[in-house]
């Protein structure tokens, strides 16, 4: 493809792409995102290619490997266009039927459709499935329509139209005004108004300015940036180039987490293609504006998501945060003014330019506008990525979209904001989702992880888990974070082991306060949050651990015992065979007994016991009943007795 050197030629190129494509021709889109690949999407893609060829349809049917549409729970996800028929959990053996029935005969393969668990109704289209129906998908909706390795796909859906508009029809002030009108706030965690960052960098003195895409998505349990990087990298790139033109920068960097190889690959391809088309590099679209980007791989350090640490890492140094001010907008990468925004923030920019800032701001709450992508994970029926309007209630996200808690369990809390976020309890499920609302509830928006916890989750253990993570990830530069977190971790571990002491909670509070007040960067300042928020809402669980040596969630290994209820045991030998330490006594027709001294509390027997028997019980804070006497252990089948 020759370089496109005017907005007219861009439009012409788009029309050519569209004219080559027959809108009514069948297109099979298969999600090739990380979740679906793990479910075996590659085999499904291969099967489709082979089957389409076998049935002689290669010329007429398009097969697309797309990015993640979000419904990871039911992967691999296949959508057939133009009808938009959505098939879930597709296996290679389903492929011949889909091709002969749906593609050739235009018939629907009923068994692959979504079935509503409450009404038993089948949903043919994505938009009929409650998981999707209750979302507002402005950004992530494009993922299933395009193969991110093909720039033409992005152009076909109007890609780079916003860039063309910015370069030829708008002044930098106009763009800034639109971004300001949109009231877009940074999607990476802190929620700083984007226009203020942009304006700050733009007004900073100096010829050279840098732009950075923060793609160091490090929160465990969050993968929305990954889905955008893998599924629609051009949308991020387009946002970045728009930002560059507005701020007056000619050089940008992507800082990508090294654990995301597919994202690196797709991003690399996108950059190369954008250069070939003249959308990146010298004289973009013939406007005279130059902009280059480079991709840097992170080397595995959570703290590098913090902007000053990220900049040091980009400079080839250890990722240790530096004090602010000076802010990066004044003195950033190599001491030059630098504007850093998160992946999702950049991806919102083309949308704002196309639809207008006011339209963007029409969605949301007072302080938070637009939509936000969350990764809804943990103890939830529909795991996946969800894009919702700001201001939606947690209740709607968890029950209407997420389908509630699986296995008939009770909801306990939802953890938001990543390791430095907090837990929100059931009483607050009517909370509207927004930056300020979540902070007020003792948590935060963060980058958008939403981890659902049920009654089996111990809140003290959750706090211990996050503090453990942050202790590991503390860069070690300042004492309140490095040493304070270590001590907090020691105490929390002690509590979960039943060795908690009177006064531990107060000591934790002092350490938390110090880390909050005296740490240098956001990691240390917010690190005590998981402890503080669980204490705020679940103090009774802390008390039970410390005073009664009891874990109410029956989760802390050191505080529970396993016990076989003699009247429920069917002497089936399943648990006995599973026990790795031979701690179960019994035999055929002999009721089983756990020898407590030998038991390591691994829980294998608990899971092995068939649910219809449910003979194994977890106990905490109460003595284990003595084993039944040898003489009474002979198993008599109850039905025979009668």
């Amino acid at each position: 493809m020759a370089r496109i050197n005017s907005p007219e030629k861009l439009e012409k190129a788009r029309q050519e792409i569209l004219s080559r494509r027959k809108p009514d021709a069948p297109c099979i889109s298969i999600c090739a995102g990380a979740g679906c690949l793990a479910f075996g999407a590659s085999e499904v893609i291969d099967a489709f290619k082979a089957e389409v060829e076998k049935q002689g349809l290669t010329v007429d049917v398009d097969i697309k490997k797309t990015g993640c549409p979000g419904f990871c729970e039911r992967g691999p996800v296949v959508v057939i266009f133009p009808e938009e028929i959505c098939y879930l959990q597709v296996k290679p053996q389903d492929v011949p039927e889909i091709v002969s029935q749906t593609i050739k005969e235009k018939k629907i393969v009923e068994r692959l459709l979504y079935v509503d668990p409450t009404t038993d109704e089948k949903a043919i289209h994505e938009s009929d499935i409650p998981f999707y129906k209750n979302q507002q998908r402005n950004i992530i909706c494009d993922n299933i329509k395009i193969d991110s390795k093909i720039l033409d796909d992005y152009l076909a859906i109007g890609g780079y139209e916003a860039l063309s508009k910015v370069l030829f029809q708008m002044s930098a002030d106009d763009v800034l005004a639109e971004v300001k009108a949109s009231q877009l706030r940074g999607r990476g965690g802190a929620g700083f108004p984007v226009w203020r960052k942009w304006e700050g960098t733009r007004n900073s003195p100096g010829e050279i300015k840098y732009l950075v895409v923060n793609a160091d998505e490090g929160d465990p349990g969050a993968f929305m940036d990954r889905a955008l990087l893998e599924g629609n990298p051009h949308s991020i790139l387009e946002g970045l180039i728009i930002g560059a033109h507005t701020i007056g920068s000619n050089e940008g960097y992507f800082y990508v987490r090294q654990e995301y190889p597919l994202a690196m690959e797709n991003l690399g391809i996108a950059i190369r293609q954008a250069k070939e088309y003249g959308l990146l590099g010298k004289d973009i679209l013939g406007s005279g504006f130059d902009f280059n980007v480079e991709v840097h791989r992170g080397a595995g350090a959570f703290v590098c998501g913090e902007e000053t640490a990220l900049l040091r890492s980009l400079e080839g140094k250890p990722g240790e945060p530096t004090p602010r001010p000076p802010y990066p907008a004044v003195k950033g990468l190599w001491e030059k003014p630098t504007n850093i925004n998160n992946v999702e923030t950049w991806a919102n920019i083309p949308l704002i330019i196309n639809k207008g800032g006011a339209a963007f701001a029409s969605t949301g709450t007072e302080g938070s506008k637009g939509t936000k992508i969350f990764s809804l994970v943990g103890k939830i029926t529909n795991t996946g990525l969800v894009e919702v309007p700001m201001g939606i209630t947690l209740n709607d996200i968890i029950y209407k979209i997420g389908g509630g808690i699986p296995g008939g369990k009770k909801f306990k809390a939802v953890q938001t904001g990543g390791p430095s976020g907090g837990c929100i309890p059931a009483e607050q499920l009517n909370l509207e989702v927004g930056f300020d609302e979540l902070t007020k509830a003792g948590s935060m928006m963060g980058s958008g992880g939403m981890i659902v916890l049920d009654e089996d989750t111990c809140m003290v253990d959750v706090a211990r888990y996050f503090i453990d993570f942050l202790t590991e990830e503390s860069c070690g530069k300042c004492v309140p974070c490095r040493e304070g977190l270590r001590q907090m971790h020691t105490i929390l571990t002690r509590i979960t082991r039943g060795e908690g002491r009177e006064g531990d909670i107060e000591l934790l509070e002092v350490l938390a306060e110090t880390a909050k007040e005296a740490s240098l960067c956001a990691l240390g300042k917010s690190a005590p949050n998981p402890f503080l928020s669980t204490l705020r809402y679940f103090r009774d669980e802390y008390d039970a651990h410390i005073k009664e040596k009891r874990c109410p969630a029956l989760s802390c290994k050191e505080l529970i015992s396993y016990y076989i209820e003699p009247d429920k045991c069917q002497a089936c030998m399943i648990c006995l065979k599973k026990c790795p330490v031979d701690a179960i006594e019994g035999g055929k027709k002999k009721i089983h007994v756990i020898i407590q001294e030998k038991c390591t509390n691994c829980g294998e027997c608990f899971e092995a016991c068939p649910s219809k028997f449910g003979a194994i019980k977890k106990l905490s804070g109460e003595p284990v009943p003595p084993p039944i006497p040898e003489a009474e252990r002979t198993f008599v089948k109850k039905s025979k007795e009668k």
Binding site: G221, P318, G603, E607
Partner: protein, 150 residues
């Protein structure tokens, strides 16, 4: 790893000291770990003090200063996997391999590591061996998976 290849990598980054991390990452990826000779070469070519290289390779988790095992075992301990029982998978892996997370066994068979989040939370708990994902895994299945590797 031969010096020529290391030089090629350094040259592809125009020998700039600011590319130190990217250069080390490439050597790590190709060789599996960072031998002393490689670090010496990087130091010499980029003209950076050995203390800075040492700081970087110990600060970032992607680097290893010892040879890695033939099979890379990753246990996801991201939050979603944690609440779905990742600790028990980790316990099982440590029991079978006889090493702790972050270690490599003496036969160089397994290197065990915990990872933050691999991005397929729907499948949690997740075990990855040599890049192959084993989802919704139980401790018993973990044992079977590890035993299938030579």
């Amino acid at each position: 790893m031969d010096i020529e290849r290391i030089d090629q990598i350094i040259d592809s980054h125009r020998g700039e000291a600011s590319s130190l991390i990217q250069i080390l990452l490439e050597i790590q990826r190709e060789n599996g770990w960072l031998p002393r000779e490689a670090l010496d070469r990087v130091r010499e070519r980029l003209q950076v003090p050995v203390s800075r290289i040492q700081h970087i390779v110990t600060f970032y988790k992607a680097f290893s200063l010892v040879p890695r095992g033939r099979h890379q075992v990753h246990i996801c301990v991201g939050t979603a996997c944690h609440v779905r029982g990742a600790t028990r998978i980790l316990d099982k892996v440590e029991e079978i391999t006889g090493i702790k997370a972050g270690e490599t066994d003496l036969d160089l068979k397994f290197s065990v590591e915990t990872v933050g989040c691999v991005g397929c939370c729907a499948l949690g708990p997740v075990l990855e061996v040599d890049g192959k994902t084993h989802g919704k895994i139980t401790p018993t299945e973990t044992a079977a998976v590890l035993k299938s590797y030579e």
